[in-house]
């Protein structure tokens, strides 16, 4: 019986437990120290009962210029699901099974053992194993791995280890080793930034005197499509992040906006106005072969593909108020998805295809909501008045969005069940247009 792994069953057990016992705890947890200009992330709500785990200092970690275990601990803490139990400078070497009873006595239900081994040419091996301290039989080990890295790869290595722990203990893939894109406005200067999911390792991809909006990640995470106003009109570019090379994807007469990569990475849905009002077109990734997908009497915009490529969700005011619809790409049929309220826009499907994040207008302003695609129920997740631009983490569990704090744009994230909330902030800047990147292979 133990030989059958059923991730969905683990998922169900863990998340139904959370639903049973969690309430929104408004505790403030500032996490870690941050380099200047990095996004600061504070968990402002989390599950009431956090999973207790020990992530010790790795054996011989002192030989590295930067700590990996700190990255792992910060990731897990920020997720709002774990409680890190501090055992001080004590290490748990990977070469032997830790004293699990002693770890359990400290309150931990799981513990990591990890060792840094220097290998040839300045690279290091990180060897680690995860243990269930509550098991008294002979099989307490939940898994392990060896990662090889150069010293400057300590952050991505830490994120990979945190992803491993997160997945083993929740049954859901972790999202730490992913990247986010967002736009920073500093007076009249706009910068498109790429950062790790924890807001660290920030790198500018584009600087402009004009606005940049609607970044969209290619499915392989190597390219971003976005809309730049640098020529005083909206033009869509495709930008290869590693090289900085970019090309114009669409610069037709009128406005060019709202790029959305198809899951196959070969085509994008875009919004063009070359034939009058804003309408959705398909265009090849090299900018060729633009063809109109639908003809509607109103505005059609904000396309987003279902992960299976079958549907394009979009916003349209064809019925009067802006509502969310979906197009069956092969069949051409259009179905209305939202009916409640007079303003439902920016549909963004989760990677598992089950949910749709969206922006809705309520009496209190604009908020982020999630729609369950099977029940068609909408749940409002946020509670400020100017929340916009939702995007799902690739594990379908967290939603990143833009909000306003004081008079400044800032980023926040909320779990799809609304229980966990994080505030991301950058000092002295206006941040907007976040987009969560895909899993990186």
């Amino acid at each position: 019986m133990n030989n059958i792994v059923i991730p969905s069953c683990i998922n169900t057990i863990f998340s139904s437990f959370l639903r049973l016992t969690c309430v929104l705890a408004m505790t403030c947890l500032a996490v870690g120290t941050r380099a200047q200009d990095a996004l600061d992330i504070a968990v402002i709500g989390s599950g009431e009962r956090l999973f207790p785990i020990i992530v010790p200092v790795f054996q011989d970690e002192g030989n590295l210029p930067h700590s990996i275990s700190e990255v792992v601990r910060a990731d897990l803490e920020r997720s709002g699901l774990f409680k890190l139990i501090d055992i001080g400078p004590m290490t748990l070497p990977e070469s032997k099974v830790p004293d699990l009873a002693a770890m359990a006595a400290r309150g931990a239900d799981a513990a990591l053992s990890a060792t840094v081994v220097a290998s040839s040419s300045g690279r290091h091996e990180i060897r680690f194993r995860l243990f269930d301290t509550t098991r008294t039989d002979s099989k307490p080990e939940l898994g392990g791995m060896i990662l090889r890295m150069s010293p400057e790869q300590y952050r991505i290595t830490g994120h990979r280890i945190a992803d491993f722990i997160y997945e083993k203990l929740t049954g859901i893939p972790g999202y730490f080793a992913t990247r986010i894109a967002y736009v920073v406005k500093n007076s009249q200067r706009y910068e498109l930034h790429i950062a790790d999911s924890d807001g660290m390792n920030t790198q500018p991809a584009l600087r402009s005197h004009e606005s940049i909006i609607s970044p969209s990640w290619s499915p392989d995470g190597q390219q971003l499509a976005y809309v730049s106003f640098e020529t005083q009109k909206p033009v869509i570019y495709v930008h290869t992040l590693a090289t900085g090379q970019r090309r114009i994807l669409a610069n037709f007469k009128g406005s060019n906006s709202a790029p959305a990569w198809a899951p196959d990475g070969k085509r994008l849905a875009v919004v063009l106005t070359k034939d009058g009002l804003s309408q959705i077109y398909l265009i090849n990734a090299d900018g060729s072969g633009a063809r109109r997908l639908m003809t509607s009497s109103g505005i059609d915009t904000e396309p987003a593909w279902s992960p299976d490529g079958r549907f394009i969700y979009f916003t349209s005011d064809r019925s009067g108020s802006p509502q969310i619809y979906r197009l069956d790409v092969a069949g051409g049929g259009v179905e209305r998805i939202t009916f409640d309220g007079s303003y439902n826009v920016t549909p963004r499907p989760s990677a598992d295809g089950k949910k749709l994040a969206l922006m809705t207008q309520t009496g209190g302003g604009y908020r982020i909501a999630v729609l369950d695609l099977s029940s068609r129920q909408i749940v409002i997740l946020t509670n400020s008045s100017r929340d916009e631009s939702p995007s799902f983490a690739p594990n379908s569990n967290m939603i990143l969005y833009a909000t306003v704090n004081g008079n400044k744009g800032t980023l926040a994230a909320v779990s799809a069940d609304g229980l966990i909330k994080q505030q991301l902030s950058i000092q002295a800047a206006d941040v907007r247009e976040p987009a969560w990147g895909p899993f990186q292979k």
């Binding site: 792994v5 057990i13 049973l20 509550t134 060896i146 994120h159 049954g171 007469k253 904000e302």
Partner: protein, 171 residues
Amino acid sequence: MKNLLFPSLLALALAACQTDTQGTSAKIDDESMQQPQQTRVTAVDATKRGDASDLPDWARDSSRNSVFFDYDSYVIRSDARPVIEAHANLLARQPDRKVTIQGNADERGSREYNLALGQKRAEAVRRAMKLQGANDMQIEAVSLGKEHPRCAASTESCYAQNRRGDFVYFR
């Protein structure tokens, strides 16, 4: 009660995950994860396009190169008609001149939907200019959505200034 329930649920969950690794050597679950990627991003500088202007004085006057719209409306107001007519006449007199009509929206709502609303305003101006006899080849209607607010406060009087179409000339 809840706290008593948790360890048993957890044990079940962990039991279900338990089979990945056995024995004493750490297993490498995924070959591709052996060498975490170092990601590199190269920055690009984008600069403004210069706009040429040898326009008549009136067309440089800020009160004559914008038209305003009512809330949630894309209908040309009567106070906008003389402005549109003047620009249409200018294009008729100078067939090699081109104008871009930049539509704008107030800050409320999503950026892309506002871009579409700004486009609707720019389109309304373009059609009105055509009716005044301007050649469509000389006109481009584009939208800046809510990206170029003339007024930054979240008040109705500010919103009214941001619901507008601007005439911008390029050579």
